[in-house]
């Protein structure tokens, strides 16, 4: 029972099942092709199970929605998957989707490109200096908790109705999530590793690159994952307040027209973008983590 409590990423051997021994081949780094084949089989089986389950979840949820719509709940409030798909097909077919999509993607991309490094820098600085964090931390918290929606009009006044105000909005959303994770990550780095770097007289930049950043990887992964979602939210919020294109604009327009199908179609696109970005991040994570201690898939 407690066995299952060990991490799914438990060290290899936890999962190694008994296989018929073939004692004759005594190569130090090879345990026989039977074992390796079995590993391969297990890995494939696992991948299949994941895929099937994933599809099942989608089918069940969308199916329930489709069935409930118009029966249990008025279609006016929840639309239905088939209608939404129809709308999406139409949006793609007529080419209406692209300007909205690219607009939002540009805002998200630019916002992440600015917000992430800024957040990392701030997190490292405050994480390393007790004085700086003593001075600034309460204010960071204060700024973070400001509802950006309420500030949006000011953003428009300061940064115009164009891209700049939207990117700023995304940056202010992303910044804090990255900051807090990096800050906590910095404070959790193994002091012994710093000592090693110091004893080899690594300079500041080397210590950051070789000790700090690798130690921060798990924290950064979480932070980036949270950032993708929140960047999308930021862009959409900015577009809700004032815009002439973008997915948020499309959603707002649909919402004002009581076009729930349009709202859900817009949300579906955002969702798809989020999943794609997240999978991309997952891919990068696996590549980086390959060398990281704690986790390997």
């Amino acid at each position: 029972m407690t066995e299952s409590l060990s991490l799914r990423t438990a060290r290899g051997a936890h999962r190694a099942g008994p296989v018929p021994g073939d004692d004759d081949t005594r190569q130090p780094s090879d345990a026989g092709s039977a074992l390796l084949e079995q590993d391969q089989r297990e890995a494939n089986r696992f991948r299949r199970t994941v895929l099937v389950g994933r599809i099942a979840v989608a089918v069940v949820v969308l199916g329930a929605w489709q069935l409930a719509s118009g029966r249990l709940v008025s279609e006016f409030f929840v639309s239905s998957p088939s209608e939404i798909v129809g709308r999406l097909v139409q949006l793609v077919g007529t080419g209406q989707l692209w300007p909205h999509l690219t607009q939002t993607l540009i805002e998200v991309g630019a916002g992440l490109l600015i917000g992430v490094p800024l957040g990392v820098a701030l997190g490292v600085a405050l994480g390393m200096s007790a004085l700086l964090s003593g001075w600034l931390l309460p204010y960071v918290m204060a700024l973070y908790s400001l509802p950006r929606v309420a500030l949006a009009p000011l953003f428009i006044v300061w940064f115009g109705i164009g891209l700049l105000s939207k990117i700023t909005m995304v940056v202010t959303m992303v910044l804090f999530v990255i900051f807090y994770n990096v800050y906590q990550g910095v404070r959790n780095i193994d002091q012994d590793l710093f000592d090693v770097a110091r004893s080899f007289r690594a300079n500041r930049w080397q210590t950051v690159r070789w000790i700090m950043l690798p130690s921060l990887v798990p924290w950064l992964v979480t932070a980036l994952r949270l950032s993708i979602g929140i960047a999308l939210i930021g862009a959409v919020i900015a577009e809700l307040i004032a815009a002439s294109s973008g997915l948020g604009y499309y959603i707002k327009l649909s919402s004002n027209l009581l076009d729930v199908t349009g709202v859900f179609a817009g949300l579906a696109v955002i969702t798809a973008v989020a999943i794609v970005l997240d999978q991309a991040l997952g891919y990068v994570e696996r590549r980086v983590m390959r060398h990281h201690p704690e986790k390997q898939h």
């Binding site: 327009l253 919402s255 004002n256 009581l258 729930v260």
Partner: protein, 296 residues
């Protein structure tokens, strides 16, 4: 103006629903090669801030924004009036027992947002009916589905609704009309900063002329603007759309110009509900300038 190339104008709108300005822009054929960009805002006050800050050039919104802001010393002016009918009516759920404003005393009433035009209208309605406004629980319930849900699910005894939802809701039979504004009010005006207008006369002029042209076209041949209207409200069925467009056109004063009668009505409402100090109310000529609309 010093700027070369075609005149451009960035117009702020509260999108959703059919409006004359949006019809003019969407039906194309703007005069003098005018480039007009629609920017949708969430609320009128956001747009006014953007206007004053210079992020947009013109804004089509409630006349109170002109009055309010001039009273505050901000330099904004109305250059045309697109609607002089207050848009919001009070609606209650059928069978809720609410028949008039008098039945609302002490109850929850939904407005689109606190401090917005619908709130102002509610204050006017209660004042007319002699119900103390302060005794109501005023709920901001947004527009559209949230408003409908607030009224329909009993979150509010009545709510302020505008077209096209108003028509739809009343047609459904599940809702009854509780109160309908019977006064004149500058519900939609084209607002801009005189300083900008001075520098960009051709653009403003072209835009206003486009509005006039659209108005004339619609009055002469309603179906000719339905295509543009369909763009703004693609989900409305054709008959409803036609009704809504006809109402929109009907709300616009002749030649998009008013005399000081409706202006006085408007300022009276605003002073009555305490939104503007009586001694701060700007004069009609100070607040509106119809000279750019062309020959009267």
């Amino acid at each position: 103006s010093a700027e070369p190339g075609p005149p451009t104008i960035r117009v702020g709108l509260v999108c959703g629903g059919v409006g004359l300005a949006a019809l003019a822009i969407d039906s194309g054929g703007l005069p003098d090669g005018l480039q007009a960009q629609k920017i949708c805002f969430d609320s009128g006050s956001d747009a006014v801030q953007a206007l004053v800050g210079g992020s947009i050039d013109a804004f089509v919104g409630a006349g109170e924004h002109v009055v309010d802001n001039r009273a505050k010393g901000l330099d904004v002016k109305g250059y045309a009036v697109v609607s002089e009918a207050p848009p919001y009516s009070l609606v209650s759920a059928a069978g809720s027992g609410v028949h008039g404003v008098g039945d609302l005393a002490g109850k929850s009433v939904a407005v689109t947002a606190p401090g917005s035009l619908s709130d102002t209208e509610l204050q006017k309605a209660t004042a007319e009916a002699g119900v103390p406004y302060s005794g109501l629980r005023v709920v901001g319930a947004g527009t559209g589905a949230t408003m409908q849900a607030a009224i329909g699910k009993g979150g509010a005894a009545a709510g302020m609704v505008s077209d096209p939802l108003l028509t739809t809701m009343l047609q459904s039979g599940a809702f009854t009309l509780t109160w309908k504004p019977d006064f004149r009010y500058i519900a939609l005006a084209v607002i801009a900063k005189p300083s900008w207008v001075n520098d960009n006369k051709p653009a403003m002029q072209a835009f206003l002329q486009a509005l006039r042209a659209t108005q004339d076209k619609a009055n002469a041949d309603l179906p000719s603007v339905l295509g543009a209207a369909k763009q703004q409200a693609p989900t409305l069925d054709p008959t409803t759309l036609r009704t809504v467009v006809a109402a929109t056109i009907a709300q616009a004063p002749p030649k998009l110009t008013i005399d000081d009668g409706p202006y006085r009505d408007t300022t009276q409402v605003l002073t009555q509900v305490g939104q503007v100090q009586p001694d701060k109310v700007p004069s009609f000529t100070d607040a509106f300038d119809f000279s750019l609309l062309g020959p009267q």
